[in-house]
């Protein structure tokens, strides 16, 4: 019996839902608009977050920490330090660079001026040997530095890592993440509340019908479903419109920026495919959920007959 009621449900439910959206057209429009507004604001923050995090990732991936060894390190010391570094789970990779390799690299980087270094050979090489370390999470840079520094004077001379601006970037990235989360929560509450009110009107308009449904033995899920569908639909419509607006705006901004010198050299906005791909799923899920949650709250009170 339960199964058959689920099977025949969609037709009645869809019919009633569409009627209801039409009947409450003003409130429905208000709900959709509020979802659109919320999602556009959210979208802007999300795009900011995605861009900052892409930029940070990009910089991070080039980020390395150098542990310079003392000129008179012993093989045993080298092994101990290497072992300690490789054992740490903060570290992505450890590469050893001997002083000869360092000199060769430096020499190569000098290009036509490499003859400047021609006086140096393996006997009087001034370049220290080092471990080049990539960390998994740039937040751990300092911790890894501390770890390496525990071997100070036990083979390690000093540790050097990326410029300060990296730290600034990481901080900024964390900040935009947090900010987006706050915006997400606040706007969600507002949207849920507006949808809640819209659906409450629908529920109120159909309270007689709900009463009759209860007396003839409709299950709560049966009674609830058209309202939840209505809320979800409002949310989804809002999500789709907001997505289109954001998409058009993003391409527009991208067009303005390309060819201008606004962005730092070597960086670009995250590719639209990446951003839009992430955004559409998020918008649809978000819009649908907001609508469903708002309606569940709206109908709850009326179900207790």
């Amino acid at each position: 019996m339960k199964f058959s009621s689920i099977k025949t449900m969609p037709k009645n439910v869809v019919r009633d839902t569409l009627k209801s959206i039409e009947r409450n057209n003003l409130m429905s429009a208000a709900s959709i608009l509020s979802v659109i507004a919320a999602l556009i604001i959210l979208g802007i923050f999300l795009i900011l977050t995605i861009n900052v995090s892409e930029l940070t990732k990009d910089v991070e991936s080039r980020l390395e920490l150098k542990v310079f060894l003392q000129s008179d390190f012993t093989d045993a010391q080298k092994l101990t330090v290497q072992q300690a570094l490789e054992d740490s789970d903060m570290i992505e990779s450890v590469t050893f660079e001997s002083s000869q390799e360092a000199l060769d690299k430096f020499s190569a980087s000098l290009d036509q001026y490499s003859s400047l270094l021609s006086g140096y050979n393996s006997q009087n090489n001034p370049m220290p040997a080092s471990f080049i370390i990539r960390v998994k999470d740039p937040n751990d840079l300092e911790a890894v530095q501390t770890l390496a520094m525990t071997f100070k004077d036990k083979g390690v001379e000093y540790v050097k890592y990326g410029e300060e601006y990296v730290q600034v970037l990481v901080n900024f990235s964390n900040f935009t993440n947090t900010l987006s989360l706050v915006v997400l929560v606040v706007l969600s509450i507002i949207s849920i509340f507006i949808i809640y009110n819209t659906i409450k009107l629908t529920v109120f308009a159909r309270r007689r019908e709900i009463g009759i449904m209860k007396y003839v033995g409709a299950t709560n899920n049966y009674i609830r479903s058209p309202f939840i569908l209505e809320g979800t639909l409002l949310g989804l419509i809002g999500a789709i419109v907001a997505f289109l607006v954001i998409r058009i705006a993003y391409y527009y901004v991208l067009g303005l920026l390309s060819g201008s010198s606004f962005l730092p050299v070597g960086t670009t906005l995250a590719s639209p495919d990446l951003v839009m791909g992430k955004l559409i799923y998020f918008f649809l899920i978000y819009g649908g959920l907001i609508g469903a949650i708002g309606s569940i709250f709206a109908i709850r009170k009326f179900l207790d007959v």
């Binding site: 019996m1 689920i6 007689r208 007396y215 003839v216 033995g217 409709a218 709560n220």
Partner: protein, 229 residues
């Protein structure tokens, strides 16, 4: 089959009980009137039957099933065994007679084929076949009540509960409605009619239960209206 065992219902602690230690048994296929003044506990009785409210004390059995133990999920399935007829009809104005009756079948998931077959039969039974495509506002009170009865019996309930079914109708129409109920009863459905309608109760010579201030004072097998107005 309906059985009340020492049922007491109080809504608020310091107010007097709406029902006081009521015990009664209504057998399958019976036709019973429930009478009493306003506030005597008739509405409470109906609400308890429909499991809108739970008794404060005592237990209620419907078809040998203690409905106090029902979970919220099971309540709809209890109500599918009971038809309800209201004094104020409670028809959906924007649906035709056919749709109003069909609605009760849609809700519990009957197929379109079953609906098309059963609804005309039920409307025929209450004598409304000629009004099948009309809307409630085009019908007289008596006709509307017939639609309600058709809706209440469309899913073959074992019990039909009628809350003042003739309360808004003139005497002649009232008799027509009651005789429809009698016909339904003849086919095996248990019927409980809550009413103020003294004349009908006296004429029908059915079992009469009388509530006074929440207590069951008279249970008369071939009854007359149990209290003086």
């Amino acid at each position: 089959m309906i059985e009340f065992k020492n049922v007491t219902k109080s809504y608020e602690k310091n107010k007097s009980d709406a029902l006081k230690n009521v015990s009664l048994f209504i057998d399958k296929g019976e036709f019973v009137f429930l009478v009493g003044r306003s506030g005597a506990g008739k509405s409470t009785f109906i609400k308890l039957l429909l499991r809108e409210i739970e008794p404060t004390q005592g237990s209620i059995f419907i078809n040998n099933y203690n409905i106090a133990n029902l979970s919220k999920r099971e309540i709809p399935f209890l109500r599918r065994k009971m038809g309800v007829v209201f004094q104020d009809f409670r028809l959906l104005e924007n649906k035709s007679v056919f749709e109003n009756v069909a609605y009760a079948m849609e809700i519990i998931g009957k197929s379109e084929k079953q609906i098309r077959k059963r609804v005309p039969l039920a409307l025929d039974m209450v004598g409304l076949s000629h009004r099948i495509n009309h809307y409630p506002h085009e019908l007289s009170g008596g006709e509307q009540q017939r639609v309600v009865i058709a809706r209440a019996i469309i899913n073959n309930p074992t019990i039909l509960i009628c809350d003042e079914p003739t309360g808004n109708l003139d005497p002649e129409t009232s008799y027509e409605i009651i005789s429809i109920l009698e016909e339904i009863n003849r086919r095996g459905t248990t019927i409980v009619v809550v009413t103020h309608d003294r004349e009908i109760v006296d004429v029908m010579k059915k079992r009469v239960l009388t509530l006074e201030d929440g207590a069951l004072t008279v249970d008369d097998a071939i009854g007359r209206y149990g209290y003086e107005v």
